[in-house]
Symmetry: C2
Subunit: 365 residues, 2 copies
């Protein structure tokens, strides 16, 4: 049958970036007891967020401010004085990734990323007809030199980099990221995905005073603030990039509950600090558990720990065995990263429960 | 300065589909007392919705189901048995419009709509480099024959039609819409925007049993259900179209509060019926008020009433005078529709307050 779809759409495979845990639950016919696969926060939300959501019910019928002006003002202040002209909100980083790809990618254009990095970015590149150029990780880190080389070799206008990294949990020093950005051609945009920024150690992020027209920093309220379910993140970029995004983004896409909740989250930095502190403890717990089980925990600057279990077959087997115990985790999809599993850090009780299940299982799988 | 943006993006004007009421409030330095410009529901939400939102706070940290499977199942049931393979959710109709335009539009492709119809659709067409072909309204209705003629003449693969219509409030009989769809070329998609479906009189919508691979029906929880602030709507279409949307849409874009609230709203049809009934009373009130003021109310199948005030200058003047009284309304942007103002129907108290303000103002403006 003839279809009206563009050649790009007609040529796309029917793949999705991620199968959600709900789809797995439907397949296996039971709910997960532990949901540790999507790096969601298991620490709840600030009481201020809960109150803000409750208060917003009275205004549920109103569209949210398409400019998210109050929230951008507050985010800018929380970042020590970033102007609203350098900020734009989105329905999570995922939406912003799509907009950023669209901003610069014409069919056939090269786009650089790392082999095994965020699938949703790749999904958007394919969706706009871009040609993905993926360079290998080096020592389980994204390889800054190789990324920059690929950009120059291909003449790419877009390069993706997550720091701290997902799925490996690794990170570069902020100064190295700054040097990377400055090494790029004048008309290349780097999408710097900082979803895990709050969990990063001192010095692992470019300083906020560092600005460069080539750099788009993405942040989210989905991780440390516990608002993944509301869908809200933002881009920090040169005003010219922000204006360009404003020409094509879905202006009414960020819901008003998310805006109110994000403002309330910023009003309770102690809550977020508490989550980050406890995640630090949890990373140490997971590292201890992995070592105890004869596996190698990778250092992490995120809210998850990636564990080298020795090979992809064992990683898959562990994933399946955990699924049979109603535990949801994920693993990197691409070699050599796929010798690992990736486990989200939850509160102490969840970690203890995970350890109870994982310990015996690691002996037989 | 050289930029990495695509020629399409670089060539777009820095316009937005709508200036939000919040931006107007910031400009005039005060809040609106009556917000009657965006056809939002002023009737609150069902107590079941409020309870569902409260309950969802415990799961705020979890991403929503990217397939919205439970909700699609429930929506399908509420529509008398539409399969989930014919449904996809989006963050409001706005997001779905962008995806639909992207599905079929290559740079330079003609896209047909009516002159003065929904600006956000036009925004998306421009954003993907489409060439907008707009046919005039006839007798304040979208002109089905002219739309079909334009599709054939231009070889358009996409045509937009809202029924009931925004901004005029007018409607066609369902049978006429069905005939329109069937008259289109085999590979033309019609985006049938049914945002105001719940307010339409008997017979004004195509029957649910009418399916056609060319027809994509859009519905929303933003109007009768009062969930505009949460951002949730859906497309009903041929499974092949739904699959194509699934190749490019933002899979994690619909937040979990919206999904839970929409399900709760479907559990309380009496609430929605109550809103629709009261809106009917309100339309009659506005019609009476307009006539009393010597203006011509247009018949409406929506939650707003469009009032012919005699000409565009007076419409602008009334809009500004109302703004000075802290009342937010809108008016159609294009002649000859711009001889009208458009006022959202709220509860009796809001209508009375509007009448109090409008009556004296209509004598001096």
């Amino acid at each position: 049958m003839p279809t009206p779809f563009t050649p790009i759409v007609a040529g796309l495979p029917a793949t999705i970036p991620f199968v959600g845990p709900e789809a797995i639950e439907r397949r296996i016919g039971r709910g997960f007891a532990l949901r540790l696969g999507a790096n969601e926060s298991l620490f709840g939300v600030s009481p201020k967020v809960e109150a803000a959501i409750g208060a917003e019910v009275a205004r549920a019928g109103w569209y949210g401010d398409p400019e998210a002006f109050e929230l951008r003002t507050k985010v800018g202040q929380s970042l020590g004085g970033i102007g609203v002209d350098r900020l734009v909100m989105g329905a999570g980083i995922d939406e912003l990734l799509g907009v950023l790809v669209r901003l610069v990618t014409e069919p056939g254009d090269p786009v650089v990323t790392s082999k095994g990095a965020y699938p949703t970015f790749n999904y958007h590149v394919a969706g706009f007809g871009g040609r993905l150029v993926a360079v290998p990780y080096r020592d389980d880190k994204e390889d800054l030199d190789a990324l920059a080389d690929a950009v120059r070799r291909e003449g790419a206008k877009l390069v993706y980099l997550s720091n701290p990294d997902n799925p490996m949990g690794s990170w570069h020093e902020g100064a190295a990221i700054e040097g990377f950005v400055q090494s790029l051609p004048e008309t290349t945009l780097v999408v710097l995905d900082e979803a895990y920024a709050e969990f990063a150690p001192e010095g692992a992020l470019p300083v906020l005073a560092f600005t460069d027209p080539r750099m788009v920093r993405l942040r989210t309220f989905s991780k440390a603030h516990g608002l993944a379910g509301l869908r809200i993140g933002y881009a920090m970029a040169d005003p010219e990039v922000i204006r360009a995004i404003g020409k094509i983004r879905n202006h009414f896409g960020v819901n008003r509950f998310a805006q109110a909740a994000a403002m309330a989250a910023l009003d309770d930095p102690a809550f977020t600090t508490g989550v980050v502190t406890e995640v630090g403890r949890g990373r140490a717990d997971y590292a201890g558990l992995a070592s105890e089980c004869g596996m190698t925990p990778l250092p992490s600057a995120t809210n998850f720990v990636t564990i080298d279990v020795g090979g992809p077959e064992r990683a898959v087997a562990l994933l399946q065995a955990l699924e049979a115990e109603a535990v949801f985790i994920r693993m990197p999809g691409v070699a050599p990263l796929n010798r690992c599993i990736r486990v989200t850090v939850g509160p102490a009780a969840d970690r203890a429960r995970f350890a109870e299940i994982f310990r015996p299982l690691s002996r037989r799988v």
